[in-house]
């Protein structure tokens, strides 16, 4: 498949009173057509900020300090954040689904008003056509009796239904890429499963690509083809899901997989927690950010700067000096 999006050395930083926070510190990744990738990490690892940067939705004191985001042959970061070029991409060619279905819809506008706004703005549809298309979209995402519900307000909808509306909105302008930022985190387990299946079907049906941003390794294992593991603003490991889950090589990934209880684990399995805490991102040292918590550390790790992503096998990359193969 052809490459659709390529992010190269993206840096997003926040200038705070206590110091410089590099929330995203030089990440590079790519997304192919009709591919589902997962961006995984704990809170504060920069996974959401990196996606907001691509959409140029970073506001002061944050700024995109460097890098390239190549989409359809153009560097999105060359566009002004509020310029017409960026607006024709944001929401239309690259759509986003946010975590909070409760807060990402406007409570004083009806579902129909919010759905048709996009269609009128990006697709230049007239009122009737937009309304017809909105009803069609609601049917596609599984909202029953859409004709009656289109004039309801968001508070008439349950959390799962609101997220369906968000998915309908994301699909409305036939995007090339959908970025789903923790799309199901605040929802119940069975609703989560419904929505993730729906998103997978939609991606296939509309031939879009999907970026799932999540902390849930299970979701990625089930739906993604490739994943990127992030820690403290950087990508520490990337590869196909079978590489990462079958032969994890970065100490953080190895630790992460050992510290989550699995539904199918043997009785009496002990969890091995990752000791310590994720680092404070203010004025980070240039060395590996995982170093203080790492059980594989070498003397070299404290001397040398953060290791670059190096291939271990084909498309499987890690950013680590230690030899983690043995353990």
């Amino acid at each position: 498949m052809a490459e659709l999006l390529k992010v190269d050395n993206l840096v997003t930083q926040f200038k705070t009173e206590s110091g410089l926070v590099k929330a995203v510190d030089g990440i590079s990744y790519y997304l192919d057509e009709q591919e589902i990738i997962g961006l995984v990490g704990e809170s504060g690892c920069g996974k959401s900020v990196s996606q907001l940067s691509i959409m140029q939705l970073i506001s002061a004191p944050g700024e995109i300090a460097g890098g390239e985001v190549t989409f359809e042959g153009q560097d999105l970061l060359n566009f002004r954040a509020n310029g017409p070029e960026m607006r024709s991409v944001r929401g239309a060619k690259i759509a986003m689904i946010f975590q909070e279905p409760m807060t990402s819809l406007n409570p004083v506008l009806t579902i129909g008003q919010q759905l048709t706004e996009m269609l009128q703005l990006h697709m230049k549809m007239n009122d009737d056509a937009a309304r017809k298309r909105a009803i069609e979209l609601m049917n596609i995402v599984g909202i029953s009796s859409a004709e009656n519900r289109i004039d309801d307000y968001p508070h008439h909808f349950s959390g799962g239904m609101r997220q369906r509306v968000m998915i309908a909105m994301a699909l409305s302008c036939n995007p090339r890429i959908i970025i789903a930022d923790e799309p199901t985190t605040s929802l119940d387990v069975t609703t989560q499963a419904q929505l993730l299946e729906l998103m997978k079907d939609m991606v296939q049906r509309f031939r879009t690509s999907l970026v799932i941003v999540t902390h849930n390794l299970g979701v990625v294992a089930r739906y993604a083809q490739r994943i990127y593991i992030m820690y403290a603003g950087r990508i520490v490991e990337s590869g196909t899901i079978k590489d990462i889950f079958g032969k994890p090589r970065h100490p953080y990934t190895i630790g992460l997989l050992k510290c989550i209880p699995r539904l199918d684990e043997e009785e009496g399995t002990k969890l091995v927690p990752i000791e310590g805490l994720p680092p404070n991102l203010i004025n980070m040292p240039p060395t590996c950010a995982f170093l203080p918590r790492c059980s594989y550390r070498l003397d070299k790790c404290a001397r040398e700067p953060w290791p670059p992503l190096t291939p271990v096998n084909g498309n499987h990359f890690i950013s680590c000096y230690a030899d983690t193969k043995e353990k």
Partner: protein, 329 residues
């Protein structure tokens, strides 16, 4: 204490908790929200029982009834053999020194203006567990030590701690009066993945070290519940639909809701995921204000037959303590 070793610390019999819905100036009662509608289970000493279900299934309400924070509408809660639902407030207080609660949110469950030490020590004062100031200080420092916090941090305030450390403070507070029962209500859902394991391991170690400590572990995350619990009870709309040993839950789930719930949780292993059964339920959890007749799961059930809407299926023991409430199994 020794002669009581094998008995049940908690025996819940037909527990019902209805919350009235009122309307109008006179607060006329128009309906009941049946948050808990006939729940039975027993918790043995040293045992951990997991209570899982989706939001609104009544799992937290059960926990609150056990702690005597709600007066149940009906039913009995036998704690160490005595029915606490009939106790007057004063006697309930005494009983409560023997039970504790760990909350979900380590940010809002600690008073920001109280030092960590006084948060942990407050139950000692309330229940008059210590006599002198020296004894109080020693006990607080010991509790800090037990949960893996540096005792020199007693004078710090909650905002100076990380989420995981705050939850440790919450655990220390729960342990203060040396309780026999700790109700853990979603104790790790607000924490980061790598920190969750630290708290789970802490809770497990404490139980191994303390004789006769039981947990009622309430959570929505089935993999966590299964990991920590000896037995698991699955709740749906105010009732237990299946209760069995943790091992059996994954290997041989019987109730269709349990099966759907299990299949909805992805396992972080693409090799396993390839071959797993997936049951995607239709629709959403109905309102407990107006639950469907009969088995409340039948409108979403993939195994439902017309008889399912006739009567509420009782929990049946199908051997080895595995109980299930479904007429189709």
């Amino acid at each position: 204490m020794n002669q009581k070793r094998d008995d049940d610390i908690l025996d819940i019999q037909d527990l019902k908790m209805y919350f009235p819905v009122t309307r109008g100036l006179l607060r006329r009662k128009v309906a009941d929200v049946k948050a808990v509608d006939g729940v039975n289970f027993k918790l043995k000493r040293d045992e951990t029982l997991g209570l899982v279900g989706e939001s609104g299934c009544g799992k937290t309400t059960v926990g609150r009834c056990v702690l005597g924070l709600y007066r149940p509408t009906e039913g009995k809660i036998l704690f160490e053999g005595e029915d606490i639902t009939t106790f007057p407030e004063k006697k309930l207080r005494e009983v409560r020194s023997n039970m504790a609660l760990i909350f979900q949110d380590p940010y809002s469950s600690l008073d920001p203006r109280q030092s960590a030490g006084s948060i942990v020590g407050e139950p000692l004062k309330i229940h008059q567990m210590v006599l002198t100031k020296g004894e109080y200080r020693d006990r607080v420092e010991q509790l800090f030590h037990v949960v893996g916090l540096d005792p020199s941090m007693t004078d710090r305030f909650p905002h100076e701690f990380s989420g995981g450390q705050r939850q440790r403070i919450g655990v220390a507070r729960a342990l203060a009066c040396d309780p026999d029962l700790i109700v853990c209500d979603e104790p790790i859902s607000a924490l980061d993945v790598s920190i969750q394991a630290q708290i789970i391991n802490l809770l497990e170690e404490l139980q191994d070290r303390t004789q006769g400590l039981s947990y009622l572990f309430i959570a929505h995350d089935l993999s966590v519940v299964r990991h920590i619990s000896d037995r698991v009870a699955v709740m749906y709309l105010g009732r237990i639909v299946e209760i069995c040993k943790s091992r059996v839950l994954y290997e041989n789930p019987l109730h269709p809701y349990t099966r759907a719930l299990l299949s909805a949780i992805p396992i972080p292993d693409p090799f396993v995921e390839e071959t797993r059964e997936r049951i995607i339920l239709k629709g959403e959890v109905p309102s407990p204000l107006n639950p469907p007749p009969g088995c409340s799961f039948h409108p979403r059930c993939f195994m439902a037959i017309p008889e399912c809407s006739q009567a509420v299926p009782p929990l049946r023991d199908i051997g080895d303590g595995h109980e299930v409430a479904c007429i189709r199994v």
